[in-house]
Structure formats: C-alpha cells, structure tokens
C-alpha cells in the first residue's frame, strides 16, 4: 500500500440490527494531508461509512460484516472508539453533538482525553480560540446555549484539541446559513492547510464540499458510483445535473416548469 494513504476502506459491508444492509462493498481511501469528500443523498450510507470507520456503529446496533478498514497501515476493526481517537482519528459527528450541559471550555477539556497515552503536549485552547474567536467570548457559558454555527465551531474545535491526523467530518453545513457555511468551510480549508490534517468530509452541499476537497466520491445506496479529483468531478455532467443542479448555472429548469399532479405514476420502493 502506498505510504501516502492514511485511511483505506476496502469493500466493507455494514448491516444494522442484523437485518438491514446499508453498505454493500464500499471502498475509498484518504491520502495523507488531503481533504476527501463523500457525497450522496440522504440515506445513501454516508454517515454509516464514517461510523464504520470510527467504530461507533455498535452504539446503533450496526456491524461491519465484511471488508477491511486500515488506518495508518493498521487494521482498526478491533479498536474501541476511544482507543481509535487516541491514535489520531477524530470523528466530528453529524448534528454537532456537543456536550450541552458543559461549558465551552469543559467541552474542550473533555476532548483532551484523546491525548491520553500519546505522549503529546496538550494543545493550548488558544489555538482553538484563534480559529474560532467567538468561542473565546463564550468560553464559560453553557454550550447548549450556543447558536448552531457556534456549536459546529465548538465541535471542530474539540477535534483540534485532539491533534488528529485524520478528521471525519459529518455534514458540517447542516442547518447553517450560506454565509456561515462559507465561513466554516474556509476555516476547514485553512486547518487542513496549516496543520496538515487529513479530512474525510461527508456533505450534502456538494458545491461547498467541492470547493475545499481535493478528491471526491459519490455514493448511492451503499456503494461508490463515481470518484475522481474534484476538478474532474465538477465537470461531470451527471454530477452537475444531480448534485450541483440547484446552485445556478445556465440551463437549470425552474421548479414551476416541472409537470404537476398526476404527471406520472411511479412505484418507488
């Protein structure tokens, strides 16, 4: 395996509750120092992929039933989630998942457990505050009272504390306004550039994801259907039609022009 591959997912299958198969032979890899984005519609299995990597699947009664995941050259399927974090793989979950009852600073303190046993010097909280000055203003307030954008900042801030080599980012744009999305993605890009942290970015918003990522994968119903460097993907016709369609460009149809009620009878599932 090439030395510059940090995370390699090879043909994994994931099953929930021993019955529902969500991933069917998914493979992807993340290069060292790169941002890789994973796109797909809701329910395609993007979050599941991230949870399979960070071993949080068991909490939701899911399991990897086939395939292998290698991080930094090692098979990590048997590691507990916290041990994995302590090796430098940090998962920023969907929906921020900050500790609402704790203060901002205590949230950061909680993330210092990721440094246990790694012989690293603790990250100064200042680094986080430098990227996210708003958090500094509210550092002693209860995190639950932060706005959505600030919570997302705190979630990424926690990841910074852990000094990871890879961050799994699950929908950082979820529920944020365009201007905040832009802001957060700008910071994500600079973290990647400044600190050399690799990222696997799951996104709904393809346009911003392509703006920061070096490489992209597109998945549907548990499989990768298309991948390539972002420069190439943005030019792909299908990608433009299905993922970037709404975001402008000439030739986009108006919703008002779509045929209406009783237009067609379809059987979906």
């Amino acid at each position: 395996m090439a030395a510059d591959i940090l995370l390699e997912i090879n043909n994994i299958e994931v099953v929930y509750n021993k019955t529902v198969q969500v991933l069917r032979g998914l493979s992807l890899s993340v290069g060292r120092g790169k941002i890789v984005t994973l796109l797909g519609s809701n329910g395609a299995g993007k979050s599941t992929t991230l949870k399979a990597v960070s071993n949080l699947l068991a909490l939701e009664n899911g399991a990897v039933t086939a395939g292998a995941i290698r991080f930094d050259g090692d098979d990590i399927s048997r590691l507990t989630p916290h041990a994995l974090v302590r090796r430098g793989l940090f998962h920023v979950m969907e929906g921020r998942r900050i500790f609402e009852d704790l203060t901002v600073e205590e949230n950061l303190t909680a993330a210092t457990f990721a440094l246990s046993g790694r012989g690293l010097k603790p990250t100064p909280f200042d680094l986080v505050y430098q990227y996210f000055p708003r958090l500094f203003e509210r550092r002693n307030g209860r995190a639950g009272y932060l706005s959505g954008g600030e919570q997302q900042m705190l979630a990424i801030g926690r990841a910074l504390i852990a000094q990871p080599s890879l961050i799994l980012l699950d929908e950082p744009s979820l529920g944020l306004s365009p201007v905040l999305v832009e802001e957060i993605f700008t910071i994500i890009a600079s973290i990647n550039r400044d600190l050399g942290v690799s990222m696997l970015l799951v996104e709904q918003n393809a346009a911003v994801a392509f703006a920061v990522a070096h490489y992209g994968y597109i998945m549907e119903t548990g499989k990768i259907v298309l991948d390539g460097p972002t420069e190439r993907l943005v030019k792909d016709d299908d990608v433009r039609e299905f993922y970037l369609g709404a975001s402008g460009g000439e030739g986009t149809k108006s919703y008002r022009d779509i045929k209406h009620y009783k237009r067609r009878k379809r059987w979906l599932s």
Binding site: S54, L56, L59, E60, N61, T80, P81, H82, V85, R86, F90, H91, V92, M93, R97, I98, F99, E100, D101, L102, E106, N107, T109, A110, A111, T112, F113, A114, L115, S116, R142, G144, Y145, R158, A162
Partner: protein, 293 residues
Amino acid sequence: MSDLLFFFEVTLAGLGSGALLSLTALAFVLIYKATRVINLAVGELLMLGGYLFFAFAAGLGLPAWAAIPLAIAGGGLVGAVVERGLIRPMLGESPIAVFMVTIGLGSILVGLVELVWGTDPRALPAFMGNAPIFIGEAYVSRKIAIAFAVAAVVIAVFLVLFRYWRGGVALRATATDQAAAYSCGINVPGVFSLAWVIGCGTAAGAGVLLGSIGGISPSMGVFGLSALVVVIVGGLDSVAGALVGGLVIGLIEAWAGTYLGGEYKLVTTFGLLLVALMIRPYGLFGTTEIERL
C-alpha cells in the same frame, strides 16, 4: 426538660438520620450523573452491603476495620458485575427500560439474600462504641453522630473531586452524550464501570452504617425509597443536592415524626416530593435539561 432543648435534640437526631439519607442519595447521584440511570436497586445494594459486613464480621469473625472495606469492595464488585451484565446491554434503550431493569435487579438481590441468609432480621456486631455524645445538654446517639461525620466527609470528598478533577468532566460529558464522549477519546465503558463501582460501593458502605444502627433484614432496601425522595428534591445529578436534600428530608421526617406522630413520617416525605416535583422538577440543585423543538 425544656421544649427548646427537646426541639434541639430532635433536630440533631434528624440531621443525623438525614446524613444517612444523603449518603444513600450520593450513590444514586454518582450512578445517575455518569450513566443517566436511576438505579432503584440502590436500596437493595445497601442491604447487600449490610449483609456482606455481617458475613465478614460475624461469619468470618473479621474485625470491623477489615470487614468494612471488604463489604464496600464487595458492593463495588457487584456494581461492576451489574454494569457489565445488565446495564451495558441496555445501552441506548429508553431510560424507563433501564429503570425497570434496576427494579428487577433489586428483586433478584432480595431473593438472593433471602436464599443465603434467610429472612430473619439480624443485628450487626457493634463496632462504634456506646458512650453517648452530648452537645451541651443535648443528647445525640453515638451511632447517629458517627454516621453524620462519615457522610459529611465522603460527600465533601466527592464534591472536591467533581470540581477539580478532569475525570469529573469526562463523567459529565459521558452523561450528556455517550457517542460524542467516545469520539472525544473518553473511555465511556470505563466511566460507566467506575461510576457503578463507586456508586454501589458507597451504597454498601451506607448499608453498613444503617445496619449497625437498626439491624439488617432483606426488607431494609425500602430505605432506598426515602433516598430517592432526597435525590429528587436535591437534584438527580447534584452531589451538593444529595447532601442538602438528605439533611432537609431528615429534619422534616424527625419533626413530623415527633410532633405529628411516626405514621406521618413517610407521608410528609412523599408529600414534600410531590410539591418539589411540581415546583422544581429538576430539584434544588439539579441541572435543567435544555429542551429544543
């Protein structure tokens, strides 16, 4: 004897038995704080602690200084086993389901104790001495005074730990969001086990104190219900709340028992609980849950 002195003595006695309630409530709080589980089996673990002490001190003839730590350790061990065997499989289930598991656990513990030691009430070997203590003219039962001192010290230690120890943050983080705590590198199962071990050990210790005052019997777990009232009044996740709540309930029970009659103790306590729930559902010191739509 003056009425005032009598009132003072009753108050002291109430504070003393309140301290026992605080200690038991602490066991609730420790487990709840980390795992969001209301452990209704705390009363039965307390009973088990009493019986373990009985087994070590009366059965094996060990001296009290050896039997007490052993009983506490035994309680902790049971806590570890329970956490691994019963609580961990329930991870992610509804809080009510886990609550019911602990009710079932209580029943199992009572049955086991009855099977091993029988149902007769028993007295624990005395280890606290008998000389009464007088504060001025006011009399305090020695055992009650000792219980008070122990409870105060233990609770103070925990208060300090939660405030100044990084582990306290880990514990609270785990309580808020298990998956997120995992993702921050916190050893979540470790935190759970630790909380159960310490919580159950505390309950067992309280059982030794309680048993040495009133004797032990398989039904002494009912005491846990009064302690439950304490944590509701004090706040389920507040160590300070356990202390204050315990003392308040202890006092009110003592006053109600003295001036209204013994039959009013329990009803006053539970009446107070209802009032507390209606006015401050999260207790005097508990954290209000942030509710979002």
